[in-house]
Symmetry: C2
Subunit: 302 residues, 2 copies
């Protein structure tokens, strides 16, 4: 059986390495991206230029999306010259963006009315996971459609979990992002406490890594915080956006998330200070501002 | 060189398996505990009964403590019939309790005035780590004294980190406990969000375990929360106490810990509801109370 043509829309920090892995797995690939440079890189690697979301949907059987936020997804899928205009029965749209569960359910229903299917399949594992093809992919939507696109997803991810019906993948991703945010906050508070108490925060981090609270976030974000490496990585304003989705989903279902709400506010103050493009580990600078360590650190971080 | 006699005071959930590991490593052991039953268990295993903290300090060269809270440490070390009354020059007291950095510094200064040394050496790794001898031990105090007791600590722990001067071990432990608390809160919020949104929380946990937010707390506490297994484990009122220490230390040094303060309040409401003896994973029931899931869960958990 010949491999289906795959479409990929959104060639950013995550999307580009994911698209390259699809290509490497031997799928014919047709791509689109708002800025042209990334398209040309993919064409040089063997992909075709779809010209528009509609063009990609006309030429591919499986259409993958990896976009920054829910409004982008709505525009690219349901807007003028969008995926829905090029879709035909039997095709499967897979939205790997971190978007809202409510939008995922709405778009899946419209895709079904067009005879197609749409899955929400956001990912965890960061740029490294995207590059190495080891992402955790959380899928919401029709199981039969998932089975058909499984070989494509396996080119990008290691753990592929069918969470439930349409929107369930985005709920799982919201859970992932709130857990990550509270872990970043935890590491930031620990590093600030150690520093203010006159104790070497690197040794504290080292001791904690050997115990029950080991995590990749303590390892990687902890080191970034102490070495003041705030180039992204995962941008603070995107994590802020993800927490907004978690909180609005929680409001919809009546779930109280006091810790998530707190970290959302702290990220908000980072974004308001014009630092939203920094890595999310820059959250520590908000606490340092509160602690009056600013004078000591602002030189290092600017 | 013959092995020094080791004293052990406080044979609770953590202390008992730690004392047994010291015994197993071949150190002569003399013990004391407030309730007699644990003393008899250790005597049956080959230890001697010291009769009192003073009696232990008179007979042992290295005196280990593993007590619930700072006031217990102060009473056992500096109170009537306490360790200081039995101590003599050259002996080393090692406080493995989770206590306050300020008390650790005060007692270390008094021990030094008596010609002895006192280290703060709290541990991470839980009951499993205590039993298997794989604890992470965070040490504050004199480096020469640490070198002398190192073989004893190696009988109980795998990662032994000299963090800094007296009190530094307790600062590191405060950092560890606040990180753990925020991670428990994160897992609880994720499980509540998934449940309220009608998504299988077990599948969400599974997907998250495969990604960047993997932690033993997500694995173990997450499962406890979903299976309603709230027998301790690590008691909620002790975690509440640890956060109180972190917050008072933070206040002393001017470090703002907004996330820690929030979880301290949530644990406080669990304790106030008479549920402080439950495992700290019962923190999820506080969120469920806020969410109005109480009706559905109270039958299961009582």
């Amino acid at each position: 059986m010949s491999k289906p043509t795959v479409g990929f829309i959104g060639l950013g920090i995550m999307g580009k390495p994911m698209a390259l892995n699809v290509l490497k797995a031997g799928f014919p690939l047709v791509v689109h991206n708002r800025s042209r440079g990334k398209v040309e890189e993919l064409v040089a690697a063997g992909a075709q230029d779809g010209g528009s979301p509609r063009g990609v949907a006309e030429r591919a059987e499986v259409i993958l999306l990896c976009l920054p936020d829910a409004p982008d997804v709505e525009q690219v899928v349901a807007g003028p010259n969008g995926v829905f205009e090029g879709i035909s029965p039997g095709k499967v749209i897979v939205d790997m963006s971190t978007s809202s569960p409510a939008l995922a359910r709405r778009l899946a229903a419209r895709a079904e009315a067009l005879g197609a299917a749409m899955l929400d399949a956001p990912v965890s594992g960061g740029e490294t996971g995207a590059r190495e093809g080891t992402l955790s992919i959380m899928v919401g939507g029709d199981g039969a459609a998932l089975a058909r696109v499984m070989p494509v997803l396996q080119a990008m991810g290691k753990t592929i979990t069918h969470i439930g019906p349409a929107g369930a993948g985005q709920v799982a991703k919201a859970c992932n992002q709130l857990v990550a945010a509270l872990m970043v906050e935890a590491v930031a508070e620990a590093m600030v406490l150690a520093t203010k108490a006159g104790v070497d925060p690197l040794r504290v981090r080292q001791a904690l890594l050997g115990g029950a609270v080991y995590s990749r976030i303590l390892e990687n974000h902890g080191l970034r915080m102490l070495e003041r490496r705030f180039e992204p990585g995962f941008k603070a304003h995107l994590h802020h956006k993800d927490l907004r989705i978690a909180l609005s989903t929680a409001r919809e279902y009546g779930a109280p998330l006091p810790g998530t709400a707190l970290v959302h506010e702290l990220y908000g103050s980072l974004v308001a200070a014009g630092k939203g493009e920094r890595d999310n580990s820059a959250l520590i600078t908000v606490l340092e501002g509160l602690a009056g360590i600013v004078a000591g650190t602002s030189r290092q971080e600017e």
